[in-house]
């Protein structure tokens, strides 16, 4: 199988890679670029563990092909903290114990950040529906939803 040469932007940096046409963006991130923060829970778009933003839009990276990435821009969990400072969502997840095993956490954080960028003041039910594409089997979602709503309030307050 011949490989494709792709030039793209990952977390603000220009990146080149070779990928075969079957590889997903998630495969490329994890296997070719060693960005293993995005997780694979299903590879069918059902769990959200692989959530990234692609040109600013929240997507499941397991549903995007590596070859589709030419000239585009992807942001992953690895770029969420700015320097030594965690993103307010990351900080709140820690303080609110919004993770247990932590496997779903990168996906939830990426998805929640996308939510708050679009809607800085979500209701509980808006947050629950926005995050309904992210599965968590450990927490029962209670502490995750609280963490997202509290972060939203904090971020509105600090603006």
């Amino acid at each position: 199988m011949s490989k494709f040469h792709i030039t793209t932007t990952v977390n603000g940096e220009a990146v080149e890679y070779l990928c075969d046409p079957k590889q997903t963006l998630l495969d490329v991130l994890r296997d070719e670029l060693n960005l293993t923060g995005s997780k694979e829970g299903c590879s069918s778009g059902d769990c959200g563990a692989c959530s990234v933003t692609l040109d600013g839009r929240l997507v499941c990276s397991c549903l995007v092909l590596g070859v589709e990435m030419q000239g585009r821009s992807v942001e992953t969990i690895e770029n969420m903290a700015q320097g030594e400072k965690l993103h307010p969502l990351q900080q709140k997840f820690l303080e609110a114990a919004a993770l247990q095993c932590g496997f779903c956490t990168p996906g939830f954080l990426v998805a929640a950040k996308a939510l708050l960028e679009k809607n800085p003041n979500p209701t509980e039910s808006e947050a629950r529906y926005w995050l309904a594409g992210n599965l968590c089997r450990c927490t029962g979602y209670d502490k995750i939803i609280r963490a997202v709503l509290e972060t939203a309030a904090d971020m509105r307050g600090s603006k």
Partner: protein, 755 residues
Amino acid sequence: MAGYEDKSFKWIGTRPVRPDGVDKVTGRANYGADMKLPGQLTGRILRSPHAHAKILSIDTSKAEKLPGVKAVITGKDFPEMHNGVLPGDEGVNFHYLSCNIMARNKVLYDGHAVAAVAAASAAIAEEALALIEVKYEVLPHVIDVDLALKPGAPLLHDDIFTTGVTPKPEKPSNTVQRIQMQLGDPDAAFKDADVVVERSFKTKAVHQGYIEPHAVVAEWSEDGQCRIWCSSQGHFMVRTLTARLLQMEVAQVRVIPAEIGGGFGGKTIIFIEPTAVLLARKAKRPVRIVMSRDEVFRGTGPAPGTSIDVKIGAKKDGMLVAATGEFRYQAGAFPGSPVGAACMAAFGPYALSHVRVVGYEAVTNRPLCYSYRAPGAPLSSFAVESVMDEIAQKLNLDPMDLRIKNGSKEGTQMVYGPKLKAVGNLECLKAIQNHPINKIPLGPNQGRGLAAGFWFNLGGQSSAVVNIAEDGTANIMTGSPDIGGSRASMALMAAEVLGIDYSKVRPIVGDTSAVGFCEITHGSRVTFATGMAIIQAAEDVVLQCRQRVAKMWEVDVEAVKWEDGHARPAGANAGDQKPLSLAQIAAKAARTGGPLVGSAAINAGGPGPAFGVHICDVEVDPETGHVTVLRYVAAQDAGKAIHPSYVEGQIQGGVAQGVGWALNEEYIYGEDGRLQNSGFLDYRIPVASDLPMIDAIILEVPNPGHPFGVRGVGEVPIVPPLGAIANAVARATGARMTDLPLTPPKIRAAIDAKK
């Protein structure tokens, strides 16, 4: 052991950020599939498409010739194991375990592994699988437990002879065992009952549904040693089982734990590790196997489906007089259903003088049924709690009053023999009774359901090491995988005993060559048993510190006490010495006897059972049969909550899983015996929009068997939800359903049948 009960705690019961937290919110934490070694190959497993078939031949020659394929293995590559359980086997039949990991003469379920390849890329490995030719002779199969128990059912094994029946059967069958336990004489006692309710129930197999699929990297070296990186609920378990199956010495196998992305019991046994080792040995390169979600559903260890009869008799005033239960549990393709625990736990919340439980276990053409949180108990509890609710309705009693009247407490004799020590059952019932949820009026099509649950909890073997650095900070290590925040609990307990700041304690999970043996993370045992090892290891350090300081001060060790992280004179005769901090003592360690290292290796008894009581409100849409959970409150006795946030998290997570079990989740098989819903789209676990906030109430009735009073908390929260939801739906619709899950079509049919 020192009595800590009366002491006020500095760290225990606080909610600091967990030590492994930052790695997990930044994506830095390494799970099973994140490991990558130089030269690593991709392993893939070929699985049976048939529920039951003889393997006539396997031809791997074409796959082997494909460029990029480095190894192909089949059942022939696995050593043959003794069929039976020998002393020292810890109850494991290694023949069955080996046959489950790679089929030999027969495949016993859709998804049973038949061959594996290691190749330079995932694409080549996939291609190679397609080139392996397996010839099958398809056999009749059996999926349902009641059918499997019947004489004349398709036979899975010719070496299973039912135990627990007399006379001993001469013919093999699918019935693995019959068990029975009894108190008093229930048959006679039923005659005194004013009301008797008897019902039959059916439940479907469900999966633990951890989001992280099983993953392993194995490396083999020419001197016969191997290293395994994997996520599991017990890397010592992985080491022992892998070594035994591959006929290696245990110390030649080193298992390095990855972060684990959920397990809930499903990662307390191995499925792919020996396969990865054999591939690595053959290929002479490291091999990584990561299961797909489809493989997780088809080829791991889901919880069994069941068929249950429960009968309870009561006096007019609600006093229970007798109860019986027959619990028929699937075992999957090999023996191992949790029917024993199910029988023992079924009536746990109630004091009964006349009770009998009977259990049957039958092998079926399904993946091996394995542990899922409080194994077996949610199902037997669902049946019992449903019948209890009906008794309350028949007698026109408040379901809470009925439960409090009959609630088990200290001194209650359990059907399995012993009497309960101090437990929190009544405390949980009363906490729910007094909860404001009871005052909220219910609207049309709404119902309120109540259920109680019981689980034993386990103790067992654990080891721990506490190393004090020269500046007085501490590294603590155990061999128990951290599955839900246990490193935080370990650090809190060590900080409490040492008297130093939580932030000065760094906990890690050590690999099998670095730390002493720890049993698997199951039975809610880690905070209890491994925590006890940490406490003792920290106490060991404290004792050493007092000894060192006694030397410095030239007094007896009794004259030195430990308080707030300092050695202080215990009384006037120790002289007028200035307190010495752990850091000051550590700085002098070289001159007073060398490094400060505390250790403990224990087999912890007295885990203390856990009780939980749940109440919930649901609304049923009469048009669609869809159930919305409006409110959920769960009260549980934690003994002592070390880190309350993670105790709440365990409760909330267990509730969510239980709600899924009650309403949505089921293994669906076709007529052909193939699993039809092996993905998260069709096997739907609850998502955020399916659930309300879950109010978790922690009660603390100290466990007399633990220095801080800790009880295991991880399992009992999944026991009551099935009954609580079913009872709420029954009250909302006026129709009692006995067949889980309560899917919209079933609910609609039940509502229609009532009209």
